[in-house]
């Protein structure tokens, strides 16, 4: 229903845009991926849908491909997704090796048993924890939980209809859906459930604060989405840790309700801005705002610190760029220069680079 609604909306919204057909092609791939992921009976089929959602997502972020920023952001989203997918694939293969061979009905009971299904096979606590943590990395990557939340505001570079359906409604909830699907694994490990709760609450708190300092409506809505996703994840963890199965229903209903609401908000956002501008023009001033609770109760120093943290989006991207990506690329650039020097010494080329090498300095933003 949501994909169809957004399709109808986009048919007018993107009219005469270059890449109009591309949008609907990628939208169809996304729908295929979502259907495959949500109706899968085995972890491998779920992985297929998961990957299709990731690819269509990254390509739609780079939809306005004549500009550099959306393309780089698309690449960033793809990078995060792929590393989360790597964790998923290892978990899928590990599950395949464990009793049950990755079939959900053999692992966690028949689909009709949900949410009362339990692990059908004997797993050791270590196996449950290891597989669960790998899947949690995959969930964190797909649902933009911390520390992988940096890609979510970047993904807003895509057209508004795709932002609404991907990051407001469906794609961002796919991680939470996976957690619900494998909830018997969480039931079997109290430690894992607690980790899920902590991760969910930390993400919700971080996103709630960050959304308040954003200067554009789509990013603010993205973080608002993330707040709800964090709460949903925490609900799932709480349901599993407490053994109260109805809490899982709460999480499921929360997913559906939030998806519908956020899609509407994102689709309405450009229009709402226009309405605000009309109002402000009419009264000849900015609309009056209320000071928040933080201004009243928190000391100035703490507020400044929190503001810095939130405006830099938790420094997660900076940390990844500075301490992971840059050294990684530097090592391979050094290897590349060594290889070129060595082959040049044999061919007596002398300039330390290959003949056909374009003489342009490399771009920094590679991953």
């Amino acid at each position: 229903v949501l994909v169809g609604t957004i399709g109808a909306f986009a048919a007018r919204y993107l009219h005469r845009e270059s890449g109009y057909n591309r949008f609907f092609l990628l939208n169809a791939i996304f729908l295929l991926g979502m259907i495959a992921a949500t109706t899968s009976e085995s972890i491998e089929t779920l992985f297929i849908g998961w990957e299709l959602v990731g690819l269509s997502s990254a390509l739609l972020v780079a939809y306005f491909q004549e500009r550099t920023a959306p393309v780089l952001n698309g690449q960033r989203v793809w990078s995060m997704y792929r590393f989360a997918d790597a964790a998923f694939l290892i978990a899928a293969v590990a599950l395949h090796r464990l009793p049950g061979h990755g079939q959900f009905n053999l692992l966690t009971g028949k689909p009709g048993d949900w949410p009362f299904g339990t692990l059908q096979q004997d797993f050791t606590p270590t196996q449950v924890l290891a597989v669960g943590l790998l899947l949690l990395v995959a969930v964190a990557g797909k649902s933009a939980l911390i520390p992988f939340s940096g890609w979510l505001p970047r993904a807003m570079e895509g057209p508004t209809p795709s932002s609404a359906i991907f990051y407001g409604a469906l794609s961002v909830h796919l991680g939470a859906f996976l957690l619900l699907r494998i909830s018997p694994l969480l039931d079997a490990s109290f430690t894992l459930s607690i980790i899920v709760i902590v991760l969910g609450l930390a993400t919700a708190l971080f996103a709630a604060l960050t959304s308040r300092v954003q200067s554009d409506v789509k990013t603010a809505l993205a973080y608002a989405s993330l707040t709800q996703v964090g709460i949903i994840v925490a609900e799932i963890g709480a349901g599993c840790a407490s053994g109260l199965y109805w809490v899982k229903y709460v999480a499921l209903i929360h997913i559906i309700g939030h998806a519908c609401l956020r899609t509407l908000q994102l689709v309405r956002a450009p229009n709402l801005l226009h309405d605000y501008h009309t109002l402000e023009n009419a009264i000849g001033a900015h609309l009056p705002g209320q000071p928040g609770w933080a201004a009243t109760y928190l000391p100035q120093r703490l507020r400044t610190g929190l503001y810095r943290l939130c405006i830099e989006r938790g420094y997660f991207d900076s940390f990844i760029d500075e301490y992971l990506v840059r050294p990684f690329l530097a090592i391979f650039r050094w290897c590349d220069s060594m290889e070129r020097a060595w082959t040049s010494s044999i061919t007596r080329n002398g300039n330390g680079k290959s003949e056909n090498q374009p003489g342009v300095t490399p771009a920094e933003e590679q991953v």
């Binding site: 992985f47 491909q65 004549e66 290892i90 293969v93 391979f332 090498q357 374009p358 771009a363």
Partner: protein
């Protein structure tokens, strides 16, 4: 086994004779057409051989056409379950490469050399006789050298590596053929053979010949040299039946490191050709990792990993040749492609952009493409050997996927260059790459037949290794010179066990 008809002998002879015929043609346009017809004929013969094998696997063992049988003790060219899909696949690569060649580039590309290389590689992939295989592997290295030399580019790096390869291969094969299996010299032979195979497969740090070749020779010539993965075939025929576990484990570890290293290197490349080279290297290392898993004590793990490797062999051959040809189609119009800037070619080559993406995704084993099942089987098998290998493969594949989308964005997105006239790809070029895509998607949607066939081949390889059915290379040597092998009664399989 050729079903009473010399399918494979003809598949080898037709391009060989065709090369002589094409050499006499002065007009490059005519030469291209004739070369294409000859390649199609060779493809039909390999397909005929494959179908004959599937229909009646045991027929033709004593066919009157096997002219070498009397002297060598077995047919020179034969189809078995291992090489059955490789021969038509290789012939198809040649057809599609010839088909995608621009008329205007006919003068720069030697169709004679292409046909000679096709004859050699088809003979190589259908050859089970060890010394003949060694001879063909050596002969195969000459064609790219001529290619580089004819282009007046430096040949030093290529010659250095290939000389080392030839020396190691010949010396290694001589030692394992003429020395008793329990002697140190036999172990030395294994080391040399392993080294030769690793050089030929481009295992780091002995891979620089590959970047050099791709940069200096024609892209089509380089593709046709590397895509059939003759080095992996040599590993399969020469090394796997006799190699002790330590040799295969060493091969597996070094291949894993190469896959990771090449994946990382592909991320920092500034030139599309070198990027392609590292992506190919990273993916082809997967095949060696899977073959190295034959050392695993557990039959199921070895069988699974080898099945994955054989599937990846086909998927990488298909997808990266398609990818390379897409790259060449764009390069033929735009010159060398830089990855340091956004070229914005999507508007001019919309179909090529889509094909680039599909072939690239297939090479990383994206779901829905021919590579997916192979990579998953390989990861599964490798994890059973050791979790490190499985994790390394997954991370290496993730690096490749980052590099692939990075290259796609650099080549096809960005501001359109309005000064460049419309240079869309020709119909026959698009047709060639489109055929690759059909095979890639078709294999992804319906992989069962291919996987079952590869599983059967993998089981045969593992049984041959573990079940004592391995044929000691000395048995071949005995036909030529019986004296040296009589010193040992221990079989190679015993040594392995």
């Amino acid at each position: 086994m050729e079903f009473g008809f010399p399918w494979i002998a003809l598949a080898v002879l037709v391009p060989l004779c065709g090369a002589i015929w094409v050499r006499t043609l002065d007009d490059p346009y005519v030469a291209r057409r004739h070369a294409l017809v000859i390649c199609i004929l060779a493809l039909l013969f390999t397909l005929g051989g494959a179908i004959a094998f599937v229909v009646h696997p045991s027929a033709g063992a004593d066919a009157p056409w096997n002219v070498f049988q009397r002297s060598l003790g077995k047919p020179a060219f034969a189809i078995d379950v291992v090489n059955m899909p490789l021969l038509p696949l290789t012939a198809l690569l040649y057809v599609l490469t010839a088909l995608s060649s621009l008329h205007t580039r006919g003068k720069r590309f030697s169709y004679t050399r292409m046909l000679v290389s096709e004859a050699i590689v088809l003979a190589l992939l259908s050859c089970e006789h060890h010394w003949m295989l060694v001879g063909l592997l050596v002969a195969q290295t000459i064609v790219p050298w001529i290619d580089i030399y004819a282009a007046k580019r430096p040949t030093g790096v290529y010659v250095l590596h290939m000389s080392l390869f030839v020396v190691c291969l010949v010396a290694g094969q001589a030692l394992v053929s003429y020395q008793p299996v329990d002697s140190p010299m036999f172990s030395g032979g294994i080391v040399l053979l392993t080294a030769a195979i690793m050089i030929r497969c481009g295992v780091a740090p002995l891979h620089c010949w590959l970047t050099d070749l791709v940069e200096h020779a024609s892209l089509r010539g380089s593709l046709l040299f590397v895509a059939p993965m003759a080095g992996a075939y040599a590993a399969l025929r020469l090394l796997l039946p006799i190699a002790p576990p330590w040799a295969l484990q060493a091969m597996m570890i070094l291949s894993t490191l190469t896959m990771f290293y090449a994946g990382g290197m592909s991320l920092v490349q500034r030139d599309a050709r070198r990027f392609f080279c590292y992506i190919f290297l990273s993916n082809s290392s997967l095949v060696l990792i899977g073959l190295g898993a034959a050392a695993a004590a557990e039959h199921a793990a070895a069988s699974l990993a080898i099945t994955g490797a054989l599937c990846v062999w086909i998927s990488v051959g298909l997808s990266l040749t398609g990818f390379g040809l897409t790259l060449r189609v764009v390069e033929a119009r735009m010159g060398k492609l830089s990855l340091t800037e956004f070229s914005g070619l999507c508007e001019q080559f919309p179909n090529m952009a889509a094909l680039f993406l599909v072939t690239g995704l297939a090479s990383i084993g994206f779901p829905g493409t021919v590579g997916f099942v192979g990579v998953e089987l390989l990861v599964d098998g490798a994890i059973r050997v050791h979790p490190f290998f499985g994790a390394a493969i997954v991370i290496g594949t993730a690096l490749n996927s980052l590099a692939m989308l990075h290259a796609y964005f650099r080549v096809f997105t960005g501001k359109r260059r309005t000064t460049i006239p419309e240079l869309g790809a020709k119909t026959y070029e698009q047709l060639a790459v489109m055929l690759f895509v059909v095979l890639i998607i078709g294999g992804g949607i319906y992989p069962q037949i291919g996987v079952l066939s590869r599983y059967e081949a993998a089981n045969q390889i593992v049984e041959q290794r573990h079940g004592g059915k391995a044929e000691h290379p000395a048995e071949h040597a005995q036909l030529v010179s019986p004296a040296p092998v009589s010193q040992s009664s221990t079989s190679a399989a015993d040594a392995v066990d």
